[in-house]
């Protein structure tokens, strides 16, 4: 019982700190909005309509998917800073188990991702169309799975090194791998036509791509949903949570 209380206490602290970083939030929202209202809007004007009929509407749910990564990575930045400045020593002497601390951090990252993503889900429902009642549980489940994956990945990546540059570079590289190896900016058929396997296959099973396709269905851009996408996302989520827990637990005491 105490452990559960500790987990929520840690998550609550992380959520509180999230609200404190207003400048950071503004910067990140600006970045994601720039993708929708600058890149997608301008690039949509030069895209072949036979491949992507409405590029602006195609990209918007993808950005909602990518946004979870950006927000969940804020927890990564903080974990990285704590490792660099030895604040982990303070966290380790708190009267709670290490597992409770680590789970609390993952939960905090997930809640940050959910809150941050909400803006982009509302935006997607305005630009595309609102989800129907039967689509809402799938939408919610997808967001939970995606944000927990991203939060775990962020914590694992940011606690790898004590060096600020390496932390920032690892975060950037992970971001760009998820960014490029996803269907946020180009549909699968473009990749199928232009690239040999397994590239299109890898792109279509990345967590961001899976979630983006589910969101496209939820916001009625696609008329069908492949439920195996949801199952695969659940698999990604489980694997990344285990990775995040194990890495953070190990790096908490590593010197």
């Amino acid at each position: 019982m105490n452990s559960i209380k500790s987990v929520f206490l840690v998550a609550e602290r992380d959520l509180y700190r999230f609200w404190q970083s207003k400048q950071w939030l503004a910067g990140q929202i600006a970045m994601n909005l720039a993708d929708v209202f600058i890149f997608a809007l301008i690039f949509g004007g030069i895209v072949r309509k036979d491949l992507v009929p409405d590029y602006f509407k195609y990209v918007t749910p993808g950005i909602a998917s990518l946004a979870t990564f950006v927000a969940a990575f804020s927890i990564g930045r903080e974990v990285g800073m704590e490792v660099r400045r030895d604040i982990v020593d303070y966290l380790l002497v708190l009267p709670m188990s290490r597992l409770a601390l680590v789970i609390g951090r993952l939960l905090g990252g997930m809640l940050r991702g959910l809150l941050y993503q909400l803006t982009f889900l509302v935006l997607a429902s305005i630009i595309l169309s609102s989800p129907k009642l039967e689509q809402l549980p799938i939408l919610f489940m997808t967001s939970i799975l995606l944000t927990s994956s991203m939060s775990s990945l962020a914590i694992a990546v940011s606690s790898i090194s004590r060096d600020f540059n390496i932390q920032a570079t690892f975060r950037a590289i992970t971001y760009y791998l998820l960014f490029f190896f996803s269907n946020v900016y180009y549909p699968r058929q473009v990749l199928m036509l232009r690239f040999p396997q397994p590239i299109p296959q890898i792109v279509s099973v990345s967590p961001i791509s899976l979630a983006a396709d589910i969101y496209r269905w939820c916001f009625n851009y696609y008329t069908y949903i492949d439920y195996t996408d949801l199952a695969m996302l659940a698999l990604w989520s489980s694997a990344l949570i285990v990775l995040g827990l194990a890495t953070y637990l190990r790096n908490l005491t590593k010197r």
């Binding site: 400048q23 950071w24 910067g27 990140q28 600006a30 970045m31 720039a34 993708d35 600058i38 890149f39 809007l41 301008i42 690039f43 004007g45 030069i46 895209v47 072949r48 309509k49 491949l51 992507v52 930045r77 800073m81 600020f164 540059n165 390496i166 920032a168 570079t169 690892f170 950037a172 590289i173 760009y176 791998l177 490029f180 190896f181 900016y185 180009y186 473009v190 990749l191 036509l193 232009r194 690239f195 590239i199």
Partner: protein, 292 residues
Amino acid sequence: MTYSSTSLKQNSKSRSRNSVGKMVFTSRSLNQMLLLIQWDLTKIVRRVIFVVMRATWFAVQVTLFGIALSYMISTRNVGLDPQQYYKFYLLGIYTSILFSITASRAYDIAEEFEEGIIEYQLSLPINRKVLAIGRAIGGGIASTIFTLPMFFTVVVLANEFSLTSILLSLSASLLFSVGIAGMVISITLSIKSGDATDILMGALDAILVRLSTIFYPSIVLRNIAPYYYAALVNPVSHLADLLRIFYSFEDFKFFVITNPLAMACYIIGLAVGVSVMTMHIIESKLEGGGWR
């Protein structure tokens, strides 16, 4: 490089010996500036992981992302066929990489501040104007050298091997990089916070790259006036389009944001103007401490 006691002694000896005489003072300043440039250059050598990761990032951009985008282009709408667009994209993406890597000097400065190296440099017998200009030029040269493999990859992929174009492009890239290095040094030293630097540089990178002619020609941007004017004042647009003109004047002469002479003047003005601003900030506003 470290500022050894020998170099410090040499500096103070030369200062006492040459306390008067403008020419001699200039030579001492030049020597100090070279030391600062050397400092920035040696930092690259110690960044093997950073170099490998940036190279990977670039490789994915010119292969997967660039090829996919060029395949999606409508020739009728933009006036460029997929091959021409790919070449257009390559020169744009080189500019984007150069910009991002130069902007990442902000992280180096933030780290130096956290480690107390900035305070150490301020305590050295080096004129602050020289310190400012040395760090800006050093950062610019280091970033340009860092991106040389990427630059030559672009030259090979674009199949453009003119020596004049290569020399002109590298000169323009160096000036651009010096300007951006000066800008990020000024920003980082003004805000004095590692976290704020991290956030600000990320946002600046994202917005400046998107609001430029890196991905789309200026004729497409003209459809949305605010974006067009933002791209017009954006240094990233000017370098990207200048490189396109250096390499393929015939292909891109109708697609650049303004005339080539204006773009060249803009790049020179950026390097000079921002360096002066950096000198002003370091000389008048920077004191040790206050890092958050």
